[in-house]
Symmetry: C2
Subunit: 308 residues, 2 copies
């Protein structure tokens, strides 16, 4: 089982307060490091928590409200000044490309590493087939959210990898190495005495691939239940408590109660709560509200790392 | 004597390190609060040091390198979300207006307070008559600097205010209140016995107006000596020590030695040093280098307030 974890770099909503920075999360999956959103101050938060920006190979931006992207120009520039040469893949709404170009033009700076920009459009009705990138280890898909401007969440799924046969099984049935490839393809194994043993009995049970869903800014969308079904960890914004339901609806945000309901309906492993309104100095009432519906609810506080 | 002080919000050069944010300074002069530059994270630094962004009425941006302006969009947005209605005056290079408009367009946000934008052009040869704003308390002028892109520093000068006559003087010479206005205009006072007393003898000595100069990013410009003559506090970037002179020249920055030489030549009261390169974990060697030339040199560290 390789490493798959998320570190919270910011847990504030649009107006930060002291000790709560705007949204950003760092996902480490096997040898790959991914940034989800990049609010103002992300490069400082990366340093604060001992991470290395030079290791990032993917950045995903959910939408173009300032608290989700304003740290990007500084981060890209600092990596440049620090001598980065490795390519970086940026998935974001199309308009961000112009914003970046304008910034680099007026500051007369030029990136010395390849920045590959992949525009991500928003297709509210499309709940399947939304894969943005696929490697041998994982797959990232967009999740269509509903906010005051176009916004996508991101689903990161581990790939199952090839099925294995244990050393013990090989000894028990005296399986020669050159039979392995066939068995892994599903072929039965014929023993010396002619007994046929099906591949299912020889292969280790399929590992259930782990998954992490990041739902940044959105109103409550019960229809995501299917897409989020059984994810190990669901991060979902909980900007408000349910007593501010009408404010949440007005501003296309979600209450702690609603996020917990979605977590319960989708039967996820854990719910991480974040994007807290500045009005909550004490976050425990939000946590309690969620736990009543879905006990495996956690505050996604800055500096915390959750293993997936 | 009214309050005139500067609080340092960031002292890092382009690549921040932990505990050193990019450039921003807060000047409090009588009832007015002024921000000089606004690097990424400034809104968080304002909160950290107990200041109130809602009190700001002027922001001056020296140039459009990211470490001097990338905190502006977040700061303007947060003031908006926090209900600001007071007008705000922004002095900055012309291109910043487009950058702001693009940001507010893509985020579909609209400021509910008046933002008055005043483009500041860069006139390298113009060393006088550079006043940008004048109130009854102070005057702000631009200082033409020389950097890799167009860059202005800012000089904030207290206005001398009307000259006063002490209660004691009034009693001594039996001056009636209705004679005050004339004396303040320079008219002599004629006593009952016909003796004429000149206004100079009656008025208190003129107070020397205090001044603060902010030289953000620039190569060493000895010709600023005249313009900076006798300022109470000169903030001048000292990105490098003098052993990195050629690197400083290449990148249009100043060494600690050079800044101290300018402070000495201009006979300023104090030199504040800042915009430190990330290569210096320990800043004492820079301080020592400056103090050898100009003993009244200080590190402008974050959170420190200097009274002018």
């Amino acid at each position: 089982l390789f490493k798959f974890e998320v570190t919270i770099l910011g847990c504030s909503s649009a107006t930060p307060i002291f000790n709560r920075h705007p949204t950003s999360q760092w996902v480490h999956i096997n040898h790959t490091h991914i940034l989800l959103d990049c609010g103002e101050g992300t490069q400082m938060q990366i340093m604060r928590y001992g991470l290395k920006a030079s290791k990032l190979s993917y950045i995903f931006i959910s939408h173009l409200h300032g608290d989700h992207y304003l740290g990007l120009m500084g981060l890209l520039s600092s990596m440049n000044l620090n001598g980065r040469t490795d390519p970086l893949n940026l998935f974001a709404p199309l308009e961000l490309e112009d914003i970046l170009q304008q910034h680099f033009r007026v500051s007369e700076s030029e990136l010395k590493y390849p920045l590959h920009f992949f525009p991500v459009n928003h297709e509210p009705e499309n709940l399947t087939d939304n894969v943005l990138v696929e490697t041998q280890d994982f797959r990232v898909s967009k999740i269509p959210l509903k906010h005051s401007i176009a916004c996508n969440g991101f689903l990161i799924e581990e790939k199952p990898g090839p099925q294995k046969i244990s050393k013990e099984t090989m000894d028990t049935y005296s399986i020669p190495y050159d039979a392995l490839a066939g068995i892994k393809k599903g072929q039965s194994f014929i023993q010396a005495d002619g007994t046929e043993i099906s591949a299912d009995r020889l292969l280790e049970p399929k590992r259930i691939p782990r998954s992490y869903a990041f739902c940044s800014d959105t109103c409550y969308l019960p229809e995501l239940k299917g897409l989020l079904n059984h994810v190990n960890i669901l991060y979902h914004e909980t900007t408000f408590g349910h007593s501010f339901l009408s404010r949440a609806e007005q501003t296309y945000h979600t209450t702690a109660f609603q996020a917990a309901q979605l977590a319960k309906d989708a039967e996820v492993g854990k719910l991480l709560m974040g994007h807290f309104s500045a009005r909550y100095k004490d976050l425990n009432p939000l946590l309690e509200e969620a736990k009543e519906i879905f006990p495996e609810s956690y505050l996604a506080l800055e500096g915390q790392t959750f293993s997936i």
